[in-house]
Symmetry: C2
Subunit: 300 residues, 2 copies
């Protein structure tokens, strides 16, 4: 994961310049795509690998060559030492932090918005200690009501994202906007939309995520979506495309080649992280999924 380290280093260096009042063009703030350096950096959420303890899971991941670990954000501050210890000496780094905040940013109730900002800051701080690329954030789920309507929702959201991005940038991490499918969140469904928010805020403290599961339902083109996300894309989620299970468990439907082409085209330096359930036995489906993705990455 030297690539990600380089990315972080660039963010740090640029952040230092920016806080010294040096004005930089947008192109300088984000790492330039370097097509030749793109590689498939696999990451697992905590529930993916078989194993009774975190250490058993990490052992399993290491044997498979999985180089990223994506913990949940809930209670993360209390787990920083545990995770650090577990990762010590391993070729696995923390990738992104999956949500865990409370409240939501497009809530009508300012208290709920404040809750979201405060809890997000705590998680960002813990994630930063773990070297995470960022904390995944959903501006509002369908069930979170009452929410603001467009265009007010977007206006209020961007004000808050600016605050969170400034905070995250100082910690060398980022807020990662995640578009979901309409079943979960009508408010933000497309990578182009999330990327447009990142463009407006124009800070390495705000990035976005592409999740193949949600993209299956919302995007017309995986490749087009990733090209639109471009330099703002810092993380990717993957699952099977019919039941959100282990990649490969849905057979022919589990084709990620077009999306992988897009990732290669934008010189993607981040992780492709498993966020999915499992139909079969993990001891079989997990290695099969890793094998499938490596084959498809080569073909892309």
């Amino acid at each position: 994961m030297d690539n990600r380290r380089n990315f972080i280093k660039k963010v740090v260096a640029v952040g230092a310049l920016a806080s010294a009042g040096v004005s930089l063009p947008a192109t300088a703030i984000f790492a330039a795509p370097q097509k030749s350096k793109t590689s498939l950096n696999l990451s697992f959420q905590e529930g993916i690998a078989p194993g009774k303890s975190l250490n058993e899971k990490l052992d399993y991941m290491e044997k498979l060559g999985v180089v990223g670990f994506e913990p949940g954000g809930g209670g993360l501050a209390k787990r920083v030492n545990e995770i650090r210890q577990a990762l010590k000496g391993r070729n696995i780094k923390v990738s992104a932090i999956c949500a865990g905040f409370s409240g939501w940013l497009i809530a009508e109730d300012p208290e709920k918005r404040k809750q979201c900002i405060e809890s997000s800051k705590e998680i960002l701080a813990a994630g930063s200690e773990l070297g995470s690329v960022g904390m995944i954030l959903v501006p509002g789920f369908n069930g979170q009501q009452p929410s603001l309507q467009m265009p007010k929702a977007r206006e209020i959201l961007l004000e808050q994202l600016k605050e969170l991005a400034d905070y995250a940038q100082k910690l060398n991490t980022s807020v990662i906007l995640e578009p979901l499918n309409r079943g979960e969140a009508w408010f933000l469904r497309l990578l182009a939309d999330a990327a447009a928010m990142c463009k407006e805020i124009n800070s390495p403290g705000l990035t976005c995520l592409g999740d193949f599961w949600h993209m299956t339902h919302e995007e017309t083109s995986d490749r087009g979506a990733f090209i639109s996300a471009g330099k703002y894309l810092s993380h990717t989620h993957i699952a099977s495309r019919k039941r959100r299970s282990m990649p490969g468990e849905d057979g022919e439907a589990d084709n990620y080649i077009d999306g992988f082409k897009g990732l290669k085209e934008i010189g993607y330096q981040g992780y492709v992280s498993f966020e999915c359930g499992c139909q079969g036995k993990r001891e079989e489906t997990v290695p099969a999924a890793v094998k499938l993705l490596r084959e498809q990455w080569k073909k892309a």
Copy 2:
């Protein structure tokens, strides 16, 4: 414009199969991209070329090698013969029909929605007589209130688009969804979003449009947006990128190469049509714009 004619012929043939109850995969309904056949087919709206009459304008366009004419939809039924006569013997065909309907499809008031459907059908019929690829439609401008909110707005919209697409398909034409910038319409701003609606309706009677002017403000990547629009893209608008004037009048900002690359990649068979104002003298800015776009198309 043989390419467009072939596209229309395919639509007719497939339409006949579909109405005979033959089930077709989505890939068969739309013409497959044929990269080698893509060319820059320029089109003008009625106000673009200098000239006192339609015939003077068409003479001017013909000299410049402009092969498409995009009339407004308002009162089009009464102009079918006039336009047919004016185009007779010329190497210019009607490209798309620009709006002209009344009411809007995401109106809270069902009467306003009905008005939009009925007036759109009249324009689609007239456009079909003129061999148009379709009628450009905006689901709702910001100023059109009260409008339905998401997700109800999208649900009601898609029901109506299905009806209009069925109607258009039988006439070998289409409804062309146009995403606008937020200043005009928050409801539909991204090509990926318009394309997703086309994918859901899955009929050659519903297509979408990319307008470089709006895309300048909303998309992070012209190329990514056009790749997402893919086979659903039937028309393209162009203007200078700072003041919506003649391409080239905004200097360095007027770079369309990335977007043109996208159009070439998807094997685009439609027109690139001027919808813009003019700062300088038309006799100078119009030929300069045509020259600029041809140069940039070659570079793409």
